[in-house]
Amino acid sequence: MNASAKAGLAIAAVMASCAIYASRAAAQVDPWEFEVYPYATEGRGVLEVEALNSVIANGHSTGFNGTSAGAFASQAMYRSAIELTYGLTDRIEAAAYLTTAQVSGHGFWYSGSKYRLRGRLFDEETLPLELGWYAELEWHHTPQFDDADLELELRPIIEKDYGALALIVNPIFEKSLAGAGRRQGFEFGYVSGAYYRSLRAISPGLEFYGGVGLIDDNAPLHNQQHYIFPVVWGELPHGLEYNVGPGIGLTRGSDHVIMKFNFELEHFIGALFGPSAESNWFF
């Protein structure tokens, strides 16, 4: 068996592990960020502005159900996050998010903010799988949108390309640091996607989002959230990139139908650091 086949088997094993584990446990889905993170990071000195939007077309009518982790109900909620990402080095990027929501019957709300670092390890093709990392701090507007004030989220990033097909997995480990759940352990979730590169302007993809709740005290499967999103993605004139599609909830605990539409633009604004050395695998 060659290295590529081994890598394929391993990524399939990791995806299967996520799925098997998820089927026994609860849910940690970030409804402000229906996005799968690839191995590649923003170019050094490049600023990307991204609008991450979603609307719950068919959700739950009471809070703490579906994608709602707070007192507001998810039904008809429109969420929007503005994300600014800057390429610090050739391998590390930093990002800040401002999240807002239009809540049915309650108007427009500030719902929180997030800050994260993300990186890729080694250069492409050094390992049979492309590996990266992701660390994020999230502040929530409580109790309307979440019952935890501050959370830490950690993700390994795993990607493998097979010609025009890219497979990406982001297992998620999340811990409440302040507010509800601070005395509890990590929660487990996942984000993954399969993308086929057909045309630069429009290509198909399939994304998966879900969560299993606390690692050591999983929710019953019917209370967990699991979604599948068939998406189209690509680049429009003037470099405007998009990723849109409907999300279908797969369990009773999920919202039933979500529409997501993400747009991004990038521009070089100037690098703070010089080029990363070829021999350097982290910075």
Partner: protein
Amino acid sequence: MFGGFEIKAVDFENHSQFHLRLMTLKFKLFIFAAGASLLAIGALPASAADATYEIRFQDYHFVPQTLAVTAGQPLIIKVANSSNETIEFESFKLNREKAVTPGETAMVHLPALGAGRYDFYDDFHQDIPEGSIVAK
């Protein structure tokens, strides 16, 4: 005692405590299996000697505009930016993008390509003609 071995009964305080420990054990096993898979993969050797090619960006175009490479062999493309502006060397089909500042040379690592034509362009200057990598 049974056959020289002492059998100790496991005395959990209650069923939920047992369930909690079981789930924790299962999670540890999951993490171990996933980690072991990745470490095993990481231990695999990277590709052998890669063929190296160069593409230069100058006077608002790429030189060469069409780069012929050998199919079936991993390769490295050195992208040299001889212009006064930062470019982003990008290939949609090859899933690569790299910002290259003026005077800098960036390395783009690629797997063995199947025979065919693969696009590349400067994502920061979309009016500049696209180039092609032709694998034969």
